[in-house]
Amino acid sequence: MLTFDQVFKRYETGQEALAEVSFSLDPGEFVFLTGPSGAGKSTLMKLAIAMERSTRGQVLLDGQNLNQLPARKIPELRRKVGVVFQNHQLLFDRSVFDNVALPLEIAGHPPSEVKSRVRAALSKVGLSNKERDWPVTLSGGEQQRVGIARAVVHRPPLLLADEPTGNLDPELSREIMSLFQQFSQLGVTVMIATHDLDLVREIPAQRLHLQSGRMVQP
């Protein structure tokens, strides 16, 4: 599903964020991505959805080499991936419903289908009653859950989550993690960047560990 081959990433600022990163995720696999602040976790995820391009090495998503992908093919690629961003990336001038509906509307699903899918996604993250609210009126954790609902609403074959439980209490974190596990059991490939070592220990899953941009044994 997702393959990194000897990937090296240096930002324009000269900052080296990744070096010689190689790994491969099979369909339906569930992995944790850990590492200290600034190790390159978010960078790795940005490379996977073509937000950044690798300086050297290949990134392959669903068989496509992202370094050779023309710009106009990128939207199509991104529709195959659900991403929970570290900073939510919600739209504050749309309701919770409209935020979650965004991926479906972009893909052009009919309104009735949009409605039922959005409701299903919101109920999975425990926000059924906040459908009509505005994101500003939500607590930090609620915003984070809206971001999670948006990432899964279009049932993408690949799910990337960057610190999805950073603002959640332990109990809710556990619930969200089991949600991700369910997805993985349905065949979705899931990669979760996290600092929450308690959770990592609880869940039996492969763990990729980054240290200063290099993949090392945890």
Binding site: M1, D26, P27, G28, K46, I49, M51, E52, D62, R72, P75, E76, L77, R78, R79, K80, V83, F85, Q89, L90, L91, D93, L102, P103, I106, A107, G108, H109, P110, P111, R150, H154, R155, P156, P157, L158, F183, L186, G187, V188, T189
Partner: protein, 322 residues
């Protein structure tokens, strides 16, 4: 109607071509209204933009209307070179009749008008303002005049024609009022220059203003654009609302221009007609008709779309999520 594709075990419903076309039409339909109501939410800014565009559109249009009206009413009479032929014989005489008919046979001449001695006196006193003086003469000292209009308006040809006429019988003298023509054409030259310069300037201005307004909107919605791109929105999808916004901005500007033009024409019509009457001209300002109004609105809308085309793609491409 829809296929299901299995990628690595997960099911993601893909849309058929027909579904996608429907979605495309739905998006357009929805944007038509939603962009207008989004614009109206910031009604003060919208009004300002509409006013600015309206002014920029109405000024050159008003000047064009002025020029066109002059052209339709007085222009031809006024600018067309008239040759005044002063007669040595009275207007009723056989010599004069012969002269008139031989002039009428010349192919270079379009029109011959006889102004009798009495008419000449009336016009004379009228133009000069010295009525009282002319009353001092016991008899009319003025000769009859033929006003000859040539087919050509070209100076050299007319001069040749003047010589040709001069050779005929029954003529005292000939004058061709070049100085007066020159004055008028320099006035028209000024007006035309201003209209042209302002017209080009202002139409470019409208495109620029609309492009710039949209650029600011894009700047304001940068985050929204980034997020839409992040979740798989195409450039066309992102661009579409701005095309509609451009359309509304231009359309509303056209409407403002229409209001301003019609009310200026009404506001100005009284002094202009007073003036025209004092010159005994039937010059009058006519308001815009239905078709012209439509053209004005279409011009506005068109400039709006051009403005959005010019600016939006360029700025959208620069916005990449990070």
């Amino acid at each position: 109607m829809s296929e299901r594709r299995v990628t690595g075990g997960a099911t993601q419903r893909l849309l058929s071509r027909r579904d996608r076309l429907r979605a495309w039409a739905r998006h357009h339909r929805q944007l038509f209204g939603s962009t207008l109501s989004a614009l109206l939410r910031d009604w003060m800014g919208l009004m300002t933009t509409w006013l600015v565009i309206g002014i920029a559109l109405s000024l050159p249009v008003l000047m064009l209307i002025g020029l066109r009206q002059i052209g339709e009413t007085d222009h031809r009479q006024v600018i067309e070179p008239a040759i005044s032929v002063y007669l040595s014989s009275p207007s009723g005489s056989a010599v004069t009749q012969g002269l008139i008919s031989s002039l009428r046979q010349m192919p270079e001449i379009r029109q011959v008008t006889l102004i009798s001695e009495a008419e000449a006196l009336a016009e004379f006193s009228e133009r000069s303002g010295f009525f009282d003086v002319l009353n001092a003469f016991s008899e009319n000292p003025l000769p009859a005049v033929l006003e000859v209009r040539s087919v050509s308006t070209e100076g050299a040809t007319i001069r040749l024609l003047t010589q040709k006429i001069g050779a005929l019988e029954g003529i005292d003298s000939i004058s061709f009022d070049a100085a007066w023509r020159q004055r008028l054409s320099s006035v028209l030259l000024i007006i035309e220059r201003i209209t042209l310069a302002l017209g080009v300037l202002f139409l470019c201005g409208v495109v620029l203003i609309i492009g710039n307004t949209l650029r600011l909107t894009i700047e304001n919605r940068r985050h929204e654009i980034e997020v839409i791109k992040l979740v798989g929105g195409t450039d066309a999808f992102v661009q579409r609302p701005f095309v509609y916004r451009g359309f509304w901005l231009g359309m509303g500007g056209g409407l403002m221009a229409w209001i301003m033009i019609q009310s200026s024409l009404i506001y100005l019509s009284v002094p202009v007609e007073t003036l025209a009457r004092s010159y005994r001209s039937d010059f009058a300002l006519e308001a815009l008709g239905f078709q012209e109004s439509l053209v004005l609105l279409a011009l506005g809308a068109g400039l709006g779309i051009v403005g959005s085309m010019v600016s939006v793609r360029r700025h959208l491409v620069k916005i990449q999520p990070n």
